[in-house]
Chain length 337, copies 2
């Protein structure tokens, strides 16, 4: 199997070509003692404690972009969802749907990137599956990942736990991933560099959990962005969320592209940022914990939860107005993750 070859229908048939693909490509980059069992299912040692389980399919277009690719994104996205429940992510499964004709070199680049991302996040890929569909029946490749983590005893985080008086923080600039994908796809000739923020948030989350006994909610604002994630929290918790627009960190390049194209960075996807809702008295402790982590250097306190206008989210604008932030409606950017 050479990098110059292409994926054939054979590679998904479960016979010799499938076995070669597993042995020569997947096992090489993702292999570990659990994946190597080669049985219908992997056997994992007993896990003490409650489990957090999440699944995501990734269909991002293009599959390679500044700051990452569909492989690293598929690891980060699911690791982050598991970590947002306070769990330590331990295991991933991965399912590939490949389009006939995909260059094997592209697949290998994606799988190698998954392997690096998994090692960086400290998770093992324990089971996988590959299907191949004909030309024109999928677009290059889609990846599903499912993650399993263990939640420390006594820890309860969730989108329904915010209370009036809680502080709302974000771990850094918003909209970087969304703007990067859009710029890659449209071939915008940006003079300033911009890259996806795709990154594993489990270490940042663990630092917050250790520093803040009053932590209520962690959430990574992916599809739908900050505004949609906060709407979900406001609705599930029965609080109103008031933001200070000037406090929300936005990279100037992202702000410029958004202005140019009429996009709102508060609705754009992020893949390496988290929203942290914490008891008001612990806002500074949360901020300090995030800023001590390389992925939280630009963390900011952006608002508060209150008892008024339960279920709604709004921001106080820099010119003294108030803007209601509803859930995302419509599709600003398809295939963003």
């Amino acid at each position: 199997m050479s990098r110059g070859e292409h994926i054939l229908l054979d590679h998904g048939a479960g016979g010799k070509a499938s076995a070669e693909l597993v042995a020569e490509l997947f096992a090489r980059h993702l292999g570990n003692e659990l994946l190597g069992q080669m049985d219908d299912a992997a056997v994992l040692p007993p896990l003490g404690g409650r489990l957090a389980v999440s699944t995501d399919s990734f269909v991002v277009d293009p599959i390679f972009f500044p700051g990452g690719d569909i492989g690293s994104l598929a690891v980060h996205g699911t690791v982050n969802d598991v970590a947002m429940r306070g769990a330590t992510p331990l295991y991933l499964t991965t399912g590939f749907v490949l389009e006939e004709g995909l260059p094997i070199g592209d697949l290998e680049r994606v799988v190698a990137s998954m392997g690096r991302a998994a090692r960086q996040a400290g998770v093992k890929v324990v089971a996988g599956d590959t299907k191949v569909v004909g030309r024109g029946q999928a677009d290059k490749l889609f990846i599903n990942t499912t993650g399993i983590g263990v939640i420390p005893d006594g820890l309860e985080l969730g989108a329904a736990r915010a209370r009036p008086g809680d502080a709302v923080l974000v771990s850094g600039t918003l909209g970087d991933h969304g703007v990067t994908i859009l710029a890659s796809r449209e071939g915008l000739g940006l003079t300033a560099p911009i890259a996806s923020d795709s990154a594993p948030l489990n270490h940042l989350a663990a630092g917050l959990i250790a520093a803040c006994p009053g932590l209520r909610t962690l959430r990574d604002p992916t599809r739908g962005g900050l505004a949609t994630a906060l709407n979900e929290i406001a609705a599930l918790s029965g609080v109103g969320i008031e933001l200070e627009e000037a406090a929300i960190p936005i990279d100037p390049v992202v702000a410029g592209v958004c202005e140019l194209l009429g996009l709102d960075p508060l609705y754009l996807a992020n893949e390496g940022k988290l929203i942290c809702i914490v008891e008001g008295s612990q806002a500074e402790a949360a901020l300090a914990a995030m800023r001590s982590d390389p992925l939280g250097r630009r963390a900011a306190l952006i608002g508060r939860c209150g008892g008024q206008r339960a279920g709604r989210v709004w921001s106080n604008t820099s010119v003294g107005g108030r803007r209601v932030l509803d859930m995302l409606s419509g599709e600003p950017l398809p295939r963003i993750c």
Copy 2:
């Protein structure tokens, strides 16, 4: 949302339309107390014992076929992979990739079928994800499922555990699923009825485990069929496997279609059959256990493991010859599951 509508890119954007799809369609058919958490990840209670974890993506074409559809198949396929390690399947996650324009009525039919299949198998869908890609970027819908089960203490089943002297059994007729998909796709005007064998094997497996302390290996011969699965077992266990061709149960309609089209039923996919390898002295006990289950009525003893020709599989033909059964090579039927 009415059944006459179609899937739009909006439905995958993570905003209002996504939330409606979750609330009005997925939650209605798949809902339970764990799926209803609506957080980034589901939280499961502590599970005592080792876990079996498996993932599969389903791309079957057509999505509706006699005996099932892509939804029931996605539940059965993963439940069965988990059960083949001796585990009790408990939880599933599901990830959908939908093509823009898919009729919502078709999606609902598939999701309702998943719900019925999950209830029948006794598993809960605990997490889900939906992405939508543009027209022509996928073919109708693809489904990934990942399953989690718990393995009873002390039970060790696996493809590397077969030993010389062991008996080889199958739970019923082979090739039904493969021939059904082919006939559906090609519009063969079959006069005799034939249907996919898609079914959950966890109850059948549990019966075998209870009846046979000398159980070595369970395996469901899906893609690549009986011959490929036995080759994997022979290679991993270091045994030779000798079959009696006349003992292998094949439905006459399947045999007829295979003869007509030059296909070999031993290489066709099954979705409701298992291979059982058991200590030779317990072959009759295994056969009785299978035949007492509706899914194992046509179970048969089809061969033995030996120490000769380790890693190879062959059958003694009814005319006194010997046929080597290698792994599947090439792709007889793309998108079979």
